[in-house]
């Protein structure tokens, strides 16, 4: 059973409209790279200079990866990775 990446509506055009992408990988970064291999625009919109872009939050089974090891956070088969845009009121 691979890792499931949940894609929010606003980013679904990056994954051809799919709301979930299942892919293998040992870390969040590897999982994102695997999704990026299939969906060209994905990686550049999610990461920047080896980090998750500002105003995007990434969770593994509900836990913010910034409290773990960021993109190096290990994942196991069956884990759920959620990408959630930050909800700001703005300037």
């Amino acid at each position: 059973m691979p890792v499931t990446v949940r894609i929010p509506t606003v980013l679904r055009r990056l994954t051809g409209g799919r709301d979930e992408v299942a892919t293998p990988g040992a870390t969040v970064g590897e999982v994102f790279a695997a999704v990026g291999a299939e969906h060209q625009e994905f990686l550049g919109r999610i990461t920047e200079g080896g980090e998750v872009r500002p105003f995007l939050n990434v969770f593994v089974n509900g836990d913010d990866i910034r409290f773990a090891q960021g993109l190096q956070t290990p994942v196991r088969d069956g884990d759920e990775v959620s990408i959630i845009p930050s909800i700001a009121g703005g300037r």
């Binding site: 509506t9 913010d64 909800i87 009121g89």
Partner: protein, 275 residues
Amino acid sequence: MAAQAAQAGLEAWIFIPEDLEREKIVATAVYGPKLVRVRGVYDDVNRLCAEVADRFGWGLVNVNLRPFYAEGSKTMGYEIVEQLGWSAPANVVAPMAGGSLVTKLRKAFEEMETYGLAKGTAETKVYGAQASGCGPIIEALHRGDAMVAPVRPRTIAKSLAIGNPADGPFAIQAMKESGGWGEAVTDEEIVAGIRLLAQTEGIFTETAGGVTVAVARKLAQQGKLSREGATVLCITGNGLKTPDAVSGEVDFGPVIDARLSEVVELAEARELAMR
């Protein structure tokens, strides 16, 4: 939110952290919304609500309606200037949770100057206040960072306990660009702030107000608040929402029989103490 929905005849779902103060739960539940208590802190609730909004397409105040709610908080800035007789305060101190309020206060002051409603408001310094048990915006400000690193909240100021503040970077900009600053205070200082405001101004505020008062005190001690012109503290919540924060600290007084002699005794004891 629950009250507005009741008045407007709209169905409302309210998501709250499970351990929110009982007073706040009662004061929400009374309006009859669908209340859902989430195991976790505000950050967990916010994440869940983002997913709920995405899945169901509902309008959630803190998610897809947030720009409107944030713009609405500018009215606090307008009212401050109005109540000061259309003049600009030198300093404004406001609490920060997600960081939206200080951002919008700054915007309100800038707009008032731009549209000629008041003079000097664009120079008003905006100061942010957080609890040190959940002070990610202050920590970033003090480090000189533009972005905010999330923290796990541990403070009695639950209404400010957002460890991953979405508007944090904007709040930092607002404080810096206005020439203001920000500070964080401990739970003990928060309680002392609540008591100070009550005993000097006759206003009972909840923990967030205690944060604001305590931070204003700290900034004044640091010499950061200019004494020229008015300093406004934004007291954003009623003390009856969080009575437990101070109930262990205040004097409940003696219990007596309804006899005059007992009061005479108390009065005599007071006179002795005054000597």
